[in-house]
Symmetry: C2
Subunit: 226 residues, 2 copies
């Protein structure tokens, strides 16, 4: 067997969450440099399992989170020291759990990284984060994945804010958005309860995620932004 064909295969996980009004990505510090959670792929473990494991190891368990494969990265020279192929994954988690270990792992605002205001990242991890964010933005158009970024139960207003945070702009008129969400069968299921007082205003109906995965018709980014 040609040993040239052997490579180190690593599994990287881009964990995204909406915190406040901003999309965040979870990074870890490794030998003094920030980068994605990364782990070697072993023969006994699937790619997805490795992706879940490495996120759990830095404090963000993905048992019930959305996880999908993003892409494999194998450009020559992406790791100057070795022949490494990374299989990147994308995880969407609700906000709230992860706060500790600020020195070894913390959330970064995606927009800050994109503007170059964050730390430089290992290897091509900046590119991988960009790809993950773009995939997420696109998938919010035609899938129900936005609900995976919320803790249940949630309101239609919460869902609207997720779209705003991920897209960095609003998905059109709030009232039309709400109608669209409720009209799409299987997107959200009413719990029959309403929010307790959080500030002023009429209490909102609360929902849990429904069984639908596709969004037809889609919620498009090209909508006007009043």
């Amino acid at each position: 067997m040609n040993t040239d064909a052997l490579a180190r295969v690593t599994v990287d996980t881009v964990v995204l969450a909406v915190r406040g009004a901003h999309l965040h990505v979870l990074l870890t510090k490794h030998a003094g440099r920030w980068g994605l959670p990364s782990t070697p792929k072993t023969p006994e473990e699937s790619l997805a399992a490795a992706a879940r494991r490495v996120a759990g190891e830095i404090g963000e368990p993905l048992e019930r989170a959305h996880l999908e494969q993003l892409a494999a990265y194998g450009e020559p020279g992406r790791d100057p020291a070795d022949h490494v192929v990374s299989v990147a994954h994308l995880a969407l988690v609700p906000d709230g759990r992860f706060e500790h270990q600020r020195d070894a792992a913390r959330w970064w605002v995606v927009e800050d990284l994109a503007r170059g205001e964050g730390p430089p990242l290992e290897l091509d991890h900046r590119r991988i984060v960009d790809d993950a964010v773009e995939r997420t933005r696109a998938k919010l158009e035609y899938t129900t994945l936005a609900t995976r970024l919320l803790r249940e139960p949630f309101t239609v207003g919460d869902l609207y804010e997720v779209y705003c945070a991920v897209w960095g702009g609003n998905p059109g008129d709030k009232a039309n958005f709400a109608r669209k969400v409720r009209r799409t069968e299987g997107f959200v299921i009413p719990t029959g309860t309403t929010t307790p007082h959080r500030g002023r205003g009429r209490p909102a109906m609360r929902y849990v995620a429904g069984p639908a995965t596709a969004l037809r018709p889609p919620i498009t980014r090209s909508a006007s932004e009043p």
Copy 2:
């Protein structure tokens, strides 16, 4: 370094084409068994370059074809003999070129494979082909990729037939389809020429692919099928 983490990385390419009224996939025979064109990934070569190379080696050059990464496959035990991670790619080529070498490589009708009428494939290649076909079907809805399955110049009728072949059903009324295609800016560009006589009927206007990649609004599969 942990040698457990070393794996054989292979690059597989699913080459799809529309021939006659059916979607076909290009397979090669390897040690008596049919499977996808596959090659080891080397440190000097990118994943995409390896995917192009291996298709070229069996007689289907991909220089101008659409090529995208499909997914990485790394389930434990998918290759009983070894720790192999395969990075599969999807290529869409126009019909016409590849005919020779029927013993070592040939086109198979995708629907026949799906019905179990084709040969058994190596490893999990059947699954990879299924994933590639589903990706292609989905992408025809919201991208202009259908033009990559045609030799230029083509007619709107040709494009309609591509949709029929890939989806295994028609994408709604032909007249409405034609209007939609022409109305979408950058999808097709008229050449000013028309088809010479091919059978009877009015000659059709001919087009080349335009610069647009996204299709907004999409051409949906859920359309009625008269």
